[in-house]
Symmetry: D2
Subunit: 363 residues, 4 copies
């Protein structure tokens, strides 16, 4: 039970918000994968968010690939990404370190680590630790693209505003990369942005739902039981901070459907077997059927809000009041979308490498 | 990527619907756990369903524990449960073996196994394979009970009928064991049963939502990232056939909440730290906080319906029509509840054994 | 930490000497592998030993493949082999159950399992549990053969008698299958057999060294560090009862060599890169180099001897004397050879399936 | 199949000889373990060797613990050690990069990584990658000591010189730390050092045998089959560069013994169950029996020798001659001893944490 994920491609992340450095090790990458450092940097920028509504802490996120990387390509040996921490105003946190911030892991970290955890800025639980995950995901994503597999995540719902559904995937994915608030519809994006600002003015925050599509996956990926595609994918998705629900295809909507509505009928499209509808999100019996894989993640509202909250001092064991200061997003969902893309890319890479071998993605 | 789950306690299931036998191996059980064969038998009965609305195929489910079991207790070595297949009317399936049943794994199994799969009755993808999983779960559940940990699953929604929420857990759990349609409210149960019968009359089926509660879990269980409590639990839950979504606490409801509503404020209850609300389902930052763990699973409508459906012959690669015969439940959700309980028990056992050691549950 | 081995192909064994049944689950086998039941039966016969010098307990070893097997071939789903126990004279063991047999696991099992272990006939530690391992290995071996990979194990040394080295592998391997005492040289075999009989007459036992060769393995298999070919192979080999040492190529002989003697110089053999010598047993830096892989295992003398031994009663905590009765081999090395072949086949299968994908061995 | 080892405590190493940095991530450490940086530095010094007979490349090995470390103690989250590479004379290697150095991994790395490997100075296969392993091992070793478990490795045989056996472990272990050539007997150490120098003068190298003892381990650690103590320990030991054989207790000496000599008789020592002899190296049936655990590793002679050697150019596919220059040890066995100690500490830590839980070593 560890902070490592994957079987053929294992990813381990390390670091604390205010420690010396954060990073990730990717163990099992195929040799010869071209590493696009500009693309990694761009994904890191997206993760940080650049709009007026996101956190004011600005790390340059200057990453170094310190191993497994030679002459612009992966070597096939463990690739380690290191990002030094710089802008760490630790004093922000020390005074309130024994006050459990509601919605955060302060208390549970204390119970798990017996008080030895690094409490500064959320420590190992900080959203900042998603930075190396995004860098790792960027490498995996490019490897998938070379195999004709593409993926993207948009904000389906935020603060009560619902984006349009995916249409033409290949046209839609680039839209998502160009916007911090990754909605497909310009007006909805505008509207959602306004509502985020409203919440920020109230010292409050909002949540939402992310929708992810993977296209180009072959049929036959996944295992019948414990390592069903949904099992492995959800395992990774629930690692993304603030994700509290994952559904595939119609998901919870299935509760209101009858079998005759829920079943996706098969049909020939020329030589190719397809389904007429895609309620099951491209997966039958835990295994991909060749249709686009579709899933949604719910992202709870940012736990850090400026409103005064009741809580406890878990050392003194007494009730207390807490007023959070510092720099916090009223909506992390736009940034979470980039993290969801990243863990999706890493997970799909791993499942394909288990199925087709470690050389499947080699240069 | 295998059909084995767990780290300290690994569970492997095997078998096909119409093969020689099905079963499970539990590797890593503590020694000295009392095995209650009557309880196992009762759970198997619950899984089979006995009401008028469930499948007419009746296996006696006579299980044998063939290893790891001595003088009524576990030995600590791998415990294997074997259930012989008997009532296998294979001829039901042979004629339509190349027709992909919509919503089933026939086509994806063909793509994964290249035509070598046992197609009879869904083969390895049959719901019957949950039988040994339920037997294994029954053993784990009793071990948890000895440690003061209890769990139960009710049908929160079925065919549009919504059950009441959990109230007093210790009073509610026994109700669930006594009813095939595991709803807490008698009237709702009656109403849902009627609607299932309506669907059956139409040759159709219905889905629903299951809600599970785990009480008595200590704070501090789960890992910060990839092996968060939600990650590991959802991994197991998505292995249950027909589960297409998993949410913890408010789950997808978080999308419509603000942070000030979503956060669970901490408070002292005497000496004990609790939260005033439990929107986060007992988990903060992937780690249990000592409150009841709550999650929901959506179960899609039974894929086997009697209505004629369009599909393809995946060998001939041509369109076809399919009329499913045989014995099928209009709603598998009641039976799925027992399976969800079982994988939950196995998963919680494993997480505790990783944390507290393999002897934690010893007799 | 479990009784399961392998990553792409996981093998779990279960059972006790005098329990209901023993068996193995193979999870991850490619679909379409032809299962040669006659070959499995023959390997089981070899494991039992049929000569006058091996144990007198005769189980028919009638195995059933109860899952993952359809129309003579693997399906790709977990394949379970079950062997019922029949000839179990439990009374042989009950009186001395608290006396730790020297060289056996009675005391360590007691310490690990807190007294809940099945003590009859060594329980889970009995050599009989190698039966399903040999059956599983036979399936893997045939799959390797289809890919041009062959392997065999001979008794290099037994009771002071040294067999000749491997010569022409393809000619030598069949010799080993035809003889219970798997030596290549007829005279040496005769001599070793005599010495085993001498030891038996003295109520004593002998050990020896096994040498295994794998031919046909491609270069490039294995990982640079923790999953070096030697690491993974030795992990499996030390699971074979009585193996107390494993060495590759010259092994412990390297201690007396200089670098100029130990290094294998490379040379072109036509278009093919080979080494002039093969001191390193076909492995450089943990990765195969395309030469035959060669390793030795030492097998300690059978722990069950008829001579009276000093020991303790671990319940009463007092000194005691022990006279072992029953049926025991004066030399298990011939039978161990079959088990070594089997775990070798399973391990090589797994490493290749990780490297080249789960379909590599498909029919 | 990855470069990660361990179940409860996973260790991943990364880096290349001439890359940017090398390091290790320890995932699963208990919280509150005191980290003794001076002890780590001392172990790194020992690994580098400081005598006249070891390599002249001098890295300062300045390590940074960049995560999982707070106020002098482990936090319980992944602890990453980073060591920057500095003194990298890459030009030494570029001219001969396609010539397979005999005894090295150049050719096998080429076959595995398809030419994308970092060839400079052995790349990922360099002995330098053991540096973070030693740092990680130092942390584990101190945690073991707190639990009363001590271990040490001496050079049993080097260049034909045999050290005395272990006597009083607690007196002997410190001797080993104080000497680069870790022999217990002063005269033998002198003699072995001379022979190493002789080999160096000849442009050649020598190998030897290491002997390791672990004292203080409780009885009952290890699994009956695939994760026997020997299996897991040997898995780790064969990861140490140049180790080509591992034996427990009498090891290959068992081949010449009879059962009556090989069995360790049990006896009461006051209240404590012990064995009279310890031929089995503290392990019966794969599980520790409470006696000192003893094993030997053979270390082949340093592959880098100055004598001219025949080899091939694996790109041009033609025969070639090779004269290795640069800085190389005539005997790496003294340095290997420190690495063996380190992987032993990490492996024992992991096995105990699986058995007794992740908090077993907490501060």
């Amino acid at each position: 039970m560890k902070n490592t994920f994957g079987q053929s491609l294992g990813v381990t992340i390390f670091g604390e918000s205010h420690g010396t450095a954060i990073g990730a090790v990717m163990d099992g990458l195929a040799p010869g994968i071209e590493v696009d450092e500009a693309f990694i940097a761009r994904q890191l920028d997206r993760r940080r968010g650049l709009s007026t509504v996101s956190t004011k802490r600005r790390e340059k996120d200057e990453f170094r690939i310190v191993s497994g990387y030679f002459e612009g390509k992966t070597t096939g040996t463990p690739l380690c990404i290191v990002i030094e921490n710089e802008d760490t105003r630790s004093k922000d946190y020390s005074l309130t370190k024994d006050l459990a911030r509601p919605g955060h892991a302060d208390y549970t970290a204390y119970m798990k680590y017996h008080g030895f955890q690094d409490y500064r800025g959320g420590g190992h639980f900080s959203g900042r630790i998603t930075t190396p995950l995004v860098a790792a995901g960027a490498i995996a994503m490019k490897a998938l693209n070379k195999k004709g597999i593409y993926l993207g995540t948009h904000i389906l719902i935020c603060a009560g505003v619902r984006d349009r559904d995916f249409g033409d995937y290949q046209a839609d994915f680039p839209i998502l990369c160009d916007n911090i608030i990754s909605m497909l519809d310009d007006e909805k994006r505008q509207e959602a942005t306004e509502r985020m600002k409203d919440a920020a003015k109230d010292g409050d925050s909002v949540g939402g739902v992310l929708q992810t599509a993977i296209v180009g996956l072959p049929a036959g990926v996944g295992e019948p039981w414990f390592d069903s595609f949904e099992s492995v994918m959800s395992h990774a998705l629930f690692s993304v901070p603030a994700v509290k629900g994952v559904e595939f295809g119609e998901g919870f909507g299935f509760a209101d459907m009858r079998g005759s509505e829920a079943n996706d009928c098969f049909t020939m499209n020329g030589d190719r077997i397809e389904t007429v509808t895609n309620h099951n999100g491209g997966i039958n019996g835990g295994i991909t059927n060749g249709m686009p894989v579709l899933f949604n993640c719910v992202v709870k509202p940012t736990a850090s809000i400026y409103k005064k909250q009741n809580t406890v001092d878990f050392i003194k064991k007494e009730n207390a009041e807490l007023q959070i200061k510092g720099r916090h997003d009223p909506a992390i969902i736009g940034r979470a979308a980039v993290v969801v893309d990243s863990v999706t890319a890493l997970t799909v890479y791993d499942m394909l490498a288990m199925r087709f071998g470690t050389d499947y993605f080699k240069g």
